[in-house]
Symmetry: D2
Subunit: 280 residues, 4 copies
Amino acid sequence: MNPTQCRILIDCRDEKGLVFKVSNIFFNYDLNILSNHEFVDRENNRFFMRSEVVGIIDQARLCADLVSVLPAHATIHVIAPRKKNIVLMATKETHALGDLLIRYEDGELDANILAVVSNYDLLEPLVRKFDIPFVTVSHEGLGRSEHEQQVLGALGALGEIDYVVLAKYMRILTPDFVSCYENRIINIHHSFLPAFIGANPYKQAFERGVKIIGATAHFVNNNLDEGPIIAQEIIPIDHAYSWKDMQRSGRDVEKIVLSRALKLALEDRIFVYANKTVIF
Amino acid sequence: MNPTQCRILIDCRDEKGLVFKVSNIFFNYDLNILSNHEFVDRENNRFFMRSEVVGIIDQARLCADLVSVLPAHATIHVIAPRKKNIVLMATKETHALGDLLIRYEDGELDANILAVVSNYDLLEPLVRKFDIPFVTVSHEGLGRSEHEQQVLGALGALGEIDYVVLAKYMRILTPDFVSCYENRIINIHHSFLPAFIGANPYKQAFERGVKIIGATAHFVNNNLDEGPIIAQEIIPIDHAYSWKDMQRSGRDVEKIVLSRALKLALEDRIFVYANKTVIF
Amino acid sequence: MNPTQCRILIDCRDEKGLVFKVSNIFFNYDLNILSNHEFVDRENNRFFMRSEVVGIIDQARLCADLVSVLPAHATIHVIAPRKKNIVLMATKETHALGDLLIRYEDGELDANILAVVSNYDLLEPLVRKFDIPFVTVSHEGLGRSEHEQQVLGALGALGEIDYVVLAKYMRILTPDFVSCYENRIINIHHSFLPAFIGANPYKQAFERGVKIIGATAHFVNNNLDEGPIIAQEIIPIDHAYSWKDMQRSGRDVEKIVLSRALKLALEDRIFVYANKTVIF
Amino acid sequence: MNPTQCRILIDCRDEKGLVFKVSNIFFNYDLNILSNHEFVDRENNRFFMRSEVVGIIDQARLCADLVSVLPAHATIHVIAPRKKNIVLMATKETHALGDLLIRYEDGELDANILAVVSNYDLLEPLVRKFDIPFVTVSHEGLGRSEHEQQVLGALGALGEIDYVVLAKYMRILTPDFVSCYENRIINIHHSFLPAFIGANPYKQAFERGVKIIGATAHFVNNNLDEGPIIAQEIIPIDHAYSWKDMQRSGRDVEKIVLSRALKLALEDRIFVYANKTVIF
């Protein structure tokens, strides 16, 4: 066997000696620790650890050894770095999708884009430029659930998917859909200080005269815009910004935040618990 | 008469030729324009102009001349720069108040602080250091309206007040109180992306795992935290921030934003209309 | 004649009555002012004005009328909005170029990209996806001046060019080249706090342990990285960033700043004087 | 013995098993780990670890045990949290000094301010308000070295000092002075993108038309403004900022960055090596 590199993620009840017990195993395996992060959420008495190690690793045995020393119900992931499979979903807007495509072309996105799935065919010409399959699943004449079944079918046909990235996919997803990819659907949405709920938030923000607009990338849970937050960013604006200007600025910040969140996910840096994230 | 400097603020219905008509008057008065800003809100067909001019100025005549060329119902202010009178109100926290006191001591705050008014006497020792009158108006045993009447009395006794600055004054103000100082009460409050409404917002933000906290300075209207926004700012945080850490960061951003908003007000740079601001 | 929209840019010696004289002309022409900005640099006694107007406009006559009331040597531009012609130049990196291509595809970039010119053919496949001509002018075996002559030839063959955008073009340009497109070549370069001069600035910044990296977009003058600054932005980093991480973050901030600067140029918002810019 | 809390800082050559060996000792001592950070600088093959632990701790024995398992020449600090002793030095400006005084008054600054030392008596009235000793060591008529000897004498008379904070102390310090408080003198200085060296940097930055100004807090080494960077921050500006406006904005960012850097130092979060910092 040759030395390989692994990411080990541990999420369990906190107790004394966890770092010692885990690092003891690493030491016995003669592993080199490339990076190591721990965090204890005292509020919830919960321990998180992410290590990047290199050495001769039998993943199954290593995992079993970790189970044997960790508290019951620990979540342990031993992940050999590999290009993850992602599917992008979009509706009509190009900014978030285009930014990911350019990063993909660039080799910066450490993932395979299996396909772009959309409820329209508008974005097909752009996607085809990059030799990426484009799948249209129109919602015309379909009920929400019926449409989602077809999207799930299309996703299923693409093989194993690690993350579904909603690059401005403008359909609300039902809990049934979300449960198929729990904590694996990444969404981006605009955010304002203070937040505006309901239709046309840019109009509301404009009318209130906000001086900042922002974006939040998060995992999707049952409530479309309310899952665990992965990344946030803002840019300053002023009274001279029309709605349209605000939207354009919003697009810039959305694309940056979405690609940052996806990068964190692809590098296995995100723990999700209690509707929040720990990010190493 | 000697040349003096004036700020002229105009807010009226938009129509053709306004800049020409106003600058024509400035030209006839032989005024030097030091700075000049206009903005038209097309949505509301409204024109805003702020000029700093220097020359021999008869304020009353200048104002009358402007009235004669501007559309009906124009709001015109001809303001000879002078130190404005402000009153600070606070409850128990020192960060926002202290920052203003230091800037005052420094000569950076171009205003007279007439007094600090509080519903506790906790901050008196700090304020006394700066030789500023401290007025306690306890709310103990008083109904809201009764207490406000006493505060209004205390404010009235201080003379003419240009701005009331709520430097973490933790009492809700009634519309009756607010109407006495319309668009002249400046408040600072925390803001989150997304916003959290109700009790203990830092706890809510912590539980949601936000990655950013911010602050909004605004004029107070009938709804305490919802008046026209003057300034906003944020700072990034991460999962390792406890509530307490988040509050400390919140205090830093609050004090910066409050003093920035106050500076804009003291320089007569803010127009308020339709629950928003135009800031030059 | 139909009403058209125009941008009028004026840059001249400051004197009393300029706003009046200019707005008088607008009024006589019965023009509607959509937006209006003035700025006086008191240090240099210089007046800048940019107006967007709509109405029946005879550009030549309007320009002549402005000349007649403005001080000698005033620079006056009356610009009917049109898609400007731009050429992108790049060497090997895709981030800045790709971002502009996606914005172009998106219709967000209000310009015609005549071609992408490079000293390598590496970026040709990417550019071809967008149906944009790609011109390779290899520098192999050529002296700097000889190579530049060929690039100038290639640019000349493309027709009238408004702006040359260096989207990570990694060749130093001589004064001869720059003088052909004075204040029309936009470059982007990394910036650090404090700045590091010389080879491998990321290495220097890494060794110094900077906590921030940034980017500066500017017009090119005789000194490659020292022309008038158009836009700047930064992002925070920490000790865990390797050089490579710093470079990746640097690319993100570079592309945002370059597209922001280009947008300002395409909207005729930039005045250049005394090695600095006024931006409305 | 009662349980106490300790910070343990380790800085040594990297090798396999360090986390294991250290956490093994913590486990044997039955310590609870409150927080734990490690970082390996691969470039320099160097390991950094900071742990906050709670338990029955014999500091000397714990330190000896750590020495026995760590590589030769390891730097180990076992620190029982205590209020550190700091001295502030200032010249004439109040913004950075005042901000620290307010935080001190507020109880936010977890330190004892032993005194404020200045080469002028201008700031004495401000400092006296806070019942903090003020020491004037005038430089009038003294050579640099003579003056520094007197300052060192004044500092020595104040007792044990953990950190000397230069809150806009405008005298250059000689290597002799600095060597007395190696990596314990914290300075704040303005920074620009790109940086301007030499006299009157705000004038230089103004003339170049920078769009951002910033500040850098750092430890002082032989070269006044070039020691290891602790914290940096910026704020955006535009062409309408005069030098004076730029300086005022500069002061705001300076005071925020300085207090942030001091907080990191007081919490023993900073490692210094090779002219850079690791900050946990």
